[in-house]
Symmetry: C2
């Protein structure tokens, strides 16, 4: 029988009694957590410095309940934060979770969210060390995560270090989340979990399912961040607002031109699931400007792109000295017409 | 002319361009911020470990716009978090701020919030090192803060270290925030800022104004936390849910009885503004159970209470071995009938 209990039907201590054990598994065995949840604050180890970042998701803005489960939301909010830690070249060491929720929220949903957070945290080898639960107005759920990271004695990899002659490379996919969003907006049903499940899946079915799933619960290549730092990456950024917008941030911060290779982008990122599911014309803008991908964009000295097969980097361009137009990003020699994502844009 | 611009009327980058400089003052001169806001994540120094905690405020739940300004909310959300860091015996080293807001929120309100956050952060000698801005549904504003602290090589002061024979002491006030909440709920106007401003203020006026103000923007005795740790405090907690509830947490975690002295509490905490503004009968429950005070409760070995005049501690009881009733908190030998605050209680 399905429980229909809400947050309001249990006390705060009962609620925490259900949630905290989900975070109490193997990650706590790690020596990095000196004081676990339960006191005024948690204490984690830090070697000289600590990388800190925060990112939130809001119901109805950053996810829709008819598309995403609580588990999906939990995975995604952890992914966003772990990607930011990785983009500094750091290894994730801990997470704080903050939930503000309507007391009428179903307890099952919160437990599903918690499971998603715990699963993504375990995947990132990163314990949840504390959190905060607040009540919110009717219908509102806001999930915030703060992530911590350890540079292991290295310098952070900033956006400002790209130099002319460097190579531009991506770890992870491009445009999958944006393409998945388009498919969700088209009302496309997941062929694996939807009404038609069980039938033979063709190539299009598999591509559609992959992209829908990736939009709801991305998996950033977080291991690639520290490996890039070890390999001498000169700059790095988490791709949350799209390749064009985030790449331009590196160009601006470094005072250079990021000259991306259109043929390489089409061959390595458009061909495959995006072209199969959306076609080339609808898919290409997603490769360039689709948001919430959480792949990593970095620059390396010539010959310095790491070849570790567990954390692959794909070369997509070179760094040029800024021309008379100033720092910018170009694709095939031209500034692309697509832009990226703005949270408060109409 | 008053600006009526909303968040939706400016772009995300314009918005951050207005807000970030408010955090860019003297605190950044501190050597503790290795990478300031503007990259994927911030980096702050940490000596072997870092204390981390998070706490949020929700419009309509944790504050009312007709009582609290944006500035008040900013001060209070920083205070809550800095108090948790101090309660571990740590010095605050950095803050992350996360705001999820209806795009129709007035820009002036957000700027006022930012000023309050910056003022409290500067008071705590604690730079704002980053943040996150999300759009939220109609009417919703959620402000979350994560605070970091440095133990300066000391062990954290936990809730579990109180030992029979220790002395129980408080740094800061008791019941002011709860009494201020009662006065707000009675519709009492602030005699200093309200309609009658300018007239001669009597003792009651001054007490009412102080308590209303303290409820809206508490100032935790954060300096007392590290000083208590240096002095050998055996346990410590931030008083966010009231003396009785939070004191019982120390008793339970330490397996002891916290035996509080009713006469000392009445003399040192009821007498004064609370008794003047509310009377003894209505004021006493606030001393025992009023929430959101963010004073510090600690236990010290006999003779170990620090006497630093800048961070005064007031002795309010002793620690006894737990009796047959198990760990508990008593006032004048009896378990008090008042309890404390539960976020999801009906």
């Amino acid at each position: 029988m399905v429980s229909r209990a809400t947050l309001a039907s249990v006390s705060e201590s009962e609620l925490l009694g259900q949630i905290l054990p989900m975070f109490g598994g193997s990650p706590y065995a790690g020596a990095g957590v000196l004081v676990p949840p339960g006191d005024d604050a948690a204490v984690i180890t830090a070697h000289g410095s600590v990388v800190v970042t925060t990112d939130s998701m809001v119901r109805g803005r950053d996810w829709r309940d008819d598309w995403s489960s609580g588990h999906d939301v939990g995975v995604k909010v952890v992914a966003q934060n772990v990607a930011d830690v990785a983009a500094m070249g750091a290894v994730p060491t801990g997470l704080l979770v903050s939930v503000a929720a309507d007391p009428a929220t179903e307890l099952d949903w919160l437990i599903d969210l918690t499971r998603g957070i715990a699963a993504a945290a375990e995947d990132a080898r990163c314990p949840v060390v504390g959190g905060d639960l607040s009540s919110a107005p009717h219908g509102v759920v806001v999930v915030g995560v703060t992530a911590f990271g350890d540079l292991q004695g290295r310098s952070p990899v900033l956006r400002s270090g790209a130099r002319p002659g460097d190579v531009v490379a991506v770890a992870g996919s491009l445009g999958w989340s944006g393409a998945g969003l388009v498919l969700h907006e088209q009302g496309r049903e997941d062929p694996i979990t939807g009404e038609g499940r069980g039938r033979h899946l063709g190539e299009v079915d598999r591509a559609v399912s992959l992209l829908l799933w990736f939009h709801r619960s991305p998996r950033p290549p977080w291991e690639s961040g520290p490996l890039a730092a070890l390999a001498g990456a000169t700059s790095m950024i988490d791709l949350s607002d799209g390749l064009v917008r985030d790449g331009a941030r590196i160009a601006t911060a470094s005072g250079v031109e990021l000259a991306l290779d259109e043929r390489a982008l089409r061959r390595d990122f458009l061909a495959g699931p995006i072209e199969v599911a959306l076609g080339a014309d609808a898919g290409w803008p997603q490769v360039l400007a689709g948001g919430e991908e959480h792949s990593l964009l970095a620059t390396f000295p010539q010959g310095g792109v790491p070849e570790d097969p567990s954390a692959p980097w794909t070369v997509i361009g070179t760094v040029l000295a800024a021309g008379p137009e100033g720092p910018r990003l170009t694709v095939g020699g031209a500034v692309p017409s697509v832009t990226g994502w703005d949270h408060f844009a109409g």
